[in-house]
Structures are given as C-alpha cells and as structure tokens.
Amino acid sequence: MLNLKNKDLSKKQSSLAAWRTRTAWFFLAPSLIILLLVAAYPLFRTFQLSFFDVSILKFPLQATWVGFDNYVALFSDPRWWRSVWNTVVFTFYSVGIETVLGLTIALIVHSEFRGRGLVRTAMLVPWAIPGVVSSQMWRWMLNDVYGVINDLFMRLRIIRTPMAWLAEPALVLPALIMIDVWKTTPFMALILLAGLQGIPKELYEAARVDGASPVQQFWRITLPLLRPSLLVALIFRTLDALRVFDMIYIVAGTQIETISMSIYARQQLISFGSLGYGSAVAAGIFLILAMYISVYLVTLKVEVK
C-alpha cells in the first residue's frame, strides 16, 4: 500500500518535471529562434561563403567554389596583416592607458570629498554620448587649422606649432587612442569603483593600526582585492577595442595607416562587394577573437579556483 503510494507520487513528480521542462522550452523558443536566425545562421553563412568566389551585387547569389583559395590569399594579404597590427597596437595602448587612468579616477571618486556626486555624474557623460557623435566632436576638435585642441595646447605651451593630428601618418593612431581613452575610461572607472566599494573598510583600519603607509595599503590591500574587477574590466575593454569600427571609420576613414580589422572586413564585403573574400576576413577576425575569449575563460577559471 505504502509502496504504491510512493510510486504514484514519484510518477506524479516526474510528470511534473516533464511538464516544467516543456514549459521552459516553450518560453525559450522565441528567443532561440531569433538567435538562430540572426546569430547562428549568418555565422554559418560567413564560414560557408568564405569558400566561394561570390559577389554581393547580384541577387540571387552566384557562387563558385574555390576551396581554400580565399584563406591562402588572406594569409599573404599585406593589408589584412596591417589591419591586424593596427588593431593590436590600438588595443594595447588604449586599454593600457584606460586601466591606469581609470584606476586613478576610481580612487579619486572613492575618497570622500565635497562635489563627489558631481564628478560621478560627469563620468557618465563621455559614456552616454553616442559613439558617432563623439567621433565627429573630436574630429572637429582635432582640426589642424580651426581645432580647439591645437589652440589649447599652444596656449598651455605643450606644442609650439599647430599639429595636423589627423593628416600626419605618425599622429593619427595616437590621436585615435586619445579619443578612445576619453570615451571609455569612465566605464573602466565605474567597474573599478564598484570593486573598490566592495573592499571592507576594516582592512584599512587594521593596516593603519599596524602602521602601514597609504602606499603600502594600496599595494598590499587595494590592488590584490581589486584583481577580479580589474581582470573583468580589462577583458571587456580588450574585446571592445579589438572589434573597433565606428570611431576609426568616422575619424580616419579607411586609410592604411589606421585601418582596423573590422573596417577592412566591411570594406571587402560591402564596398568592394567581394562576399567570398570578405567572409574569409570576417572568419579570420572571428577566429582571432575566439582564441582570445577561450584564453580569457581559462584564465578566469584558474582565477576562480
């Protein structure tokens, strides 16, 4: 009797579990269908088309199978490697400067002072301005003849003569890095600030009692405990910088000195209309980023352990 009841109950439970599973999939279905349509399918198409010679101008598409030809061409394409190099240099310097500057700003805003709320609000301004708008703003500010940056820098005696920030090949990349630093440092600072606020105040009090100087406190307490937030902020920003498109496209166009991986891919795909070769470029970018993401996931796992 008792046995039967238990069996009945477990049957009921398993049917309940099955019902819950069905409901869950039912709720998930719309999202999954949309993501299959706009993420999985186009990604599959990118890899598929990279093995064809196909123009984007003719619909329906007329594709000729070319095997690995596009990848062979990509491997010996100096413009592609230049775009990879530009992107890596851009990422290295902007993320590096943003980290140091972001940490400094976070430490300033973390301390108690009058007007702290104002600074916190002001930090959101560069982040809130649309990327296209801030790119155009800086393009105008960096104008060689009428730009305010040259005027300000000359008044402050930082430079003697006006600089052609966006025309001189050696200056364009530094200028782009400067713009990116302005736009994204606040985001970095916000994440680090959240990390700082999570460090218990008692630790600093104990350190002070033990006679540790502020510098020692920073290296021994702040930095080690900030490591997780620092790592996350670094990873997110690096990922963003490696994908850079809008800002460089608007400020510097498609010139070889500063072309990024994303700009090069779009140029091949859309401007030149070679859907096959462009897809090989896009696949190359995907693989580079996938490599980066998997390294990051492994690092995070190690970190968590």
Binding site: Y41, L124, A128, G131, Y146, S262
Partner: protein, 287 residues
C-alpha cells in the same frame, strides 16, 4: 591620553588637499569640455567658426543651425526613424527576453546551463563576423533598407544582453511568491505576468534603458543595411553629413545635430544613473 583634534591643517596637508582639488577640477574639465565645445560650436556662424583666434564662448549665440539641420535635410525623419528602431528593438527584446529569463532563472531542465553560456558568448562575439551573412539574410527576407530589417538585426546584441540582466533579477525574487500563485491554480504565463512582472519592473527599466541606448547609437548595421534617407537613422546621418562645399564641412550644423541626439540620451542617463551604473557593473562583475 586623548589628543585634541587640531583645527588648523598643517601646510603639507593643505597643499595635498589643494593638489587634490586641482586634480578633480582638471578631471571635470577633461570629461565635460568636449561636449561644451560641441554646444559652443553649434551656436556659431560659419564666419565665427572659422575665425582665428578661436573664441571660447559663442560671441552672438546663433540658433539658426538648429533650424537649418531640419530644413536642408529630413533630420526630423532621421530622428523619427531612430525612435522607431530603438523603441521597437527595446520592446521586442523585453517581451521575448522576459519569457527566456523566466525559463532560465526559474526552471530546472537539461540544457539550461549551455543555453545561458551560449547567450553570454553571443554578447561577446564580433558583429562584423556575421555582417555578410546578415546582409544576405536581410536581402532574402526583403527587409533590406527598412526599419523592420534594422530592428530584427539589432536583436542580435540587445536580446542576449536583456536576457542576461533579467535572469539575474528573476533569480533574486523569492520562490514563495510564485508558489502561492501556482497553488491557487495559476498557469506559468499568469504567474509570470501577475506575480513576477510587478516585482521585476526595476529590472525591465534597467535592461530596457541599456537596450534603447545600444540601438539608438548603433552605426555599423545601420550604415550597411540601409541606403535611402527614408530608412536612415541619426548616427548614419551625422556620420554622412556633407556641406555645400566639399572643402569645409558645416561643423556648426554637425554639432547642432550632435547636441540634438545627445541631449535626450544624457537626460535619460542622468535621471536613471543609479540603475544604469548598477546594470553595467552587475553585468560586468558577474561576467
């Protein structure tokens, strides 16, 4: 012995305090000056704009640039398009994403973990790697150069992000709340809309704002999947701004247009700053 607190700061302390405030002042200048400069430039005539030496205040504020952008090109249309695209994307993401977040946050089923992490991966991967495939898709669905085409493709980045934020909100709501509803015989959809929805409202606001901002600012897809002014959004219009002469761009008009699209966004961000910061840092820290 208890030492009395000294009222007068030592010279060293005063100096470091002074330095600190100089630093804060410089920081504020650095953060805000570019936007100030956009406003100043938008209030100048062409002659004032291209005059040397540069004037740091608008000599005679000119509002005419704000009228010109609406008369020399259909800027009102672009704004309307941007509202449609960003609004449509946000509402769709929230509606579809809410169900998914409820399923992931509340139901135990096989495949839940992989789905959650796949969503996470989608937010990370570069949109350029699907650009060609999406172009073909949009063409073959007949959505090229249209507002629905943009809304559909924007779901690529707003939907996973929305699901991600909403899931973290769903998880924080106590189970007892919906259990009571189920005991009263509610269906899952009823439990979701009658019980969860009111509690999850703050999460919807956060996720909705972030989705709206993302869609409002998007440039790459808008540039690639539209050609006509009929379906152009504001970021593309501002990027493609051209003047009567190709020699000098009408920077005062570009800046006026920039101020027009930025101000609503700044107002939103300043009103909801606590929520946005919480959403951003939660998303990043929990990552």
């Amino acid at each position: 012995m208890i030492q009395p607190r000294r009222k007068n700061l030592s010279i060293g302390a005063m100096l470091s305090k002074g330095l600190f405030f100089v630093g804060v002042g410089f920081l504020l200048f650095y953060l805000l000056f570019p936007f100030y400069w956009a406003i100043v430039s938008s209030l100048k005539t062409s002659n004032q704009l291209f005059a040397t030496p540069i004037t740091y205040f608008p000599p005679t504020p000119q509002w005419v640039n704000y009228q010109t952008i609406f008369t020399t090109q259909p800027f009102g249309r672009f704004l309307f398009n941007s509202f449609l695209v960003a609004g449509g994307t946000t509402l769709l993401s929230l509606f579809i994403g809410l169900f998914a977040a409820y399923a992931i946050g509340r139901f135990q089923f096989r495949g839940r973990q992989p789905i959650y992490y796949t969503m996470l991966a989608v937010t990370m991967f570069p949109s350029i790697s699907v650009l060609g495939g999406l172009f073909v898709l949009v063409r073959s669905l007949g959505l090229y150069d249209s507002i629905p085409g943009l809304i559909l493709t924007y779901l690529l980045f707003t939907l996973p992000f929305t699901i991600w934020i909403l899931t973290s909100f769903v998880r924080e709501i106590p189970m007892e709340l919906e259990e009571a509803a189920y005991i009263d015989g509610a269906t899952p959809v009823q439990a979701l809309f009658r019980v969860m929805l009111p509690v999850i409202a703050p999460g919807l606001v956060t996720a909705g704002l972030l989705a709206f901002i993302q869609a409002w600012n998007e440039f790459l897809f808008a540039l690639t999947f539209t050609v006509n002014e009929r379906s152009r959004t504001v970021p593309v219009a501002i990027a493609l701004f051209s003047g009567t002469s190709s020699f000098e761009l009408p920077w005062n008009q570009i800046m006026a247009a920039s101020v027009v699209v930025t101000v609503p966004l700044l107002v939103l961000v300043l009103i909801f700053q606590q929520r946005i910061v919480a959403g951003l840092t939660a998303g990043a820290v929990k990552g």
